[in-house]
Amino acid sequence: MRLTVLLAVAALAAPAAALAQEAAPAACPATPAALPAGLEAWASPAPLAAATTAADAGKASLKIGQAFDAALPGTPAVTYALRPEKPGGSVSYGGIFAVDVTKPATYTIALSTGAWIDVVRDGKTLQSTAHGRGPACTTLRKMVAFPLEPGRYLIQIAANGEPKIGIMVAERP
């Protein structure tokens, strides 16, 4: 098959008819939308640099209830404890954090992007119990819930499109 034919077909995705069902960007109100309960600190992040190995994750510790504006290295520089279920490409960004849980509860991990989240303990990836998007017109993009027992966990971030990410771990009310 000739490339020219393939590229012509790619134009299918841009149909000429002005009938495309495209959602116009909704205007955001002057007053920012309210953040979900428990995530009020999202608006006041502290800087942090993600680790590139599990051994160094303690240097990138996420305090529960505190938001962070985290720097991420390029994916090729990261050695994950477990291969992410959805690995990022060579041009993406990722990193590893640690979180210490003292109280058994369900926790929300909130991100400013749609990056992939793995929570790892004892060499296993934990299953999330819920996921959703943040409120419109906020920088909170993704929320995933994990029931966690006391102990240290690794939070692996993969397939992020830029070298920074907003991240927060909060107990679900």
């Binding site: 299918l12 841009a14 149909p15 009938l19 959805k86 490409g89 993406s92 830029e162």
Partner: protein
Amino acid sequence: MRWAAPLIAAAAAVLCLAAAAPQPFDWRLPEGIAPPPVPADNPMSAAKVELGRRLFYDADLSVNGTMSCATCHEQRHAFTDTNQTRPGVHGDPGRRNIQALAGVGYYRTITWADPRAASLEQQMLIPILGLKPVEMGMAGQEAELARRLANDVCYRQMFAQAFPETGGQIDMVAVGKALAAFQRTLLAFDTPYDRGPAALPAAAQYGEALFRSARLNCSSCHAGPHFTDADRPGAYHRLPGAPAADPGLAEVTGRPEDQSRFRTPGLRNVAETGPYLHDGSARTLEAAIQAHYAANDPAAPTKAETADLVEFLKALTDKGFLADPRFALPQTACGRPL
């Protein structure tokens, strides 16, 4: 076998094509099932399928490395996901529900409502290069994609093995052929339904009878071994009870009679592929069934009949397919961990 008779023509076509193949490909199909048709210029090979599988899971096929084919087509959900629609790499809202992939190699109508994407080799360009909406965002970045792949010594080996006729050239044509070859192997024929009526609970048997009844006649469109007429060109339909905001086929043809016409999704693994309809607006199988009927249509199935239909649809799940390691994220390539 339930499906042997309808596939004679397809089998004949494949036999013709197979003559051009350098080596027979082991489809691992049950007896009586013909493999999907294969384009003469893209014969199947194990090396090509292996390459296609790696590419399918590689987020370097998106502009910022965040999205692979598998980002939306998740194996555990029969290669779709649980979202109504999904935004692209830049946050553009998705337009239509992600489609499942089991049996997609048999289809002649591959997208929801665009007959111009007539092959899997062509279809893959829509998510990778498409602009309305931008999904993977690689329009104008074809050379960059080739550069990324060629930067990996293992990929160079895999392309060379998969495409000896071009010396392993890495370009969009080869990427499309490899992805298509992998997708043709996504076959799900090990379901309770395939084991025969005795394998079905009574409710599912009632449901199948309703499904094929003259009154409901679901099988007129959800036909054949894949429960779709998408293996016939030009088969697009409008559902009386479905949302009509999307122009569907009319967007391409410009014909008013094609307004809100869409292809018929196959039903294998359908219980795992919700939400349903072209816009993902039906959260459950019951809601999807109801969308096939206008309000107060006396022919619509009753609540009890709908429940039986759902039991039948659940019997179309190939659980092995959802976890088959042949289709999963590869953990190694060229003998090394990824």
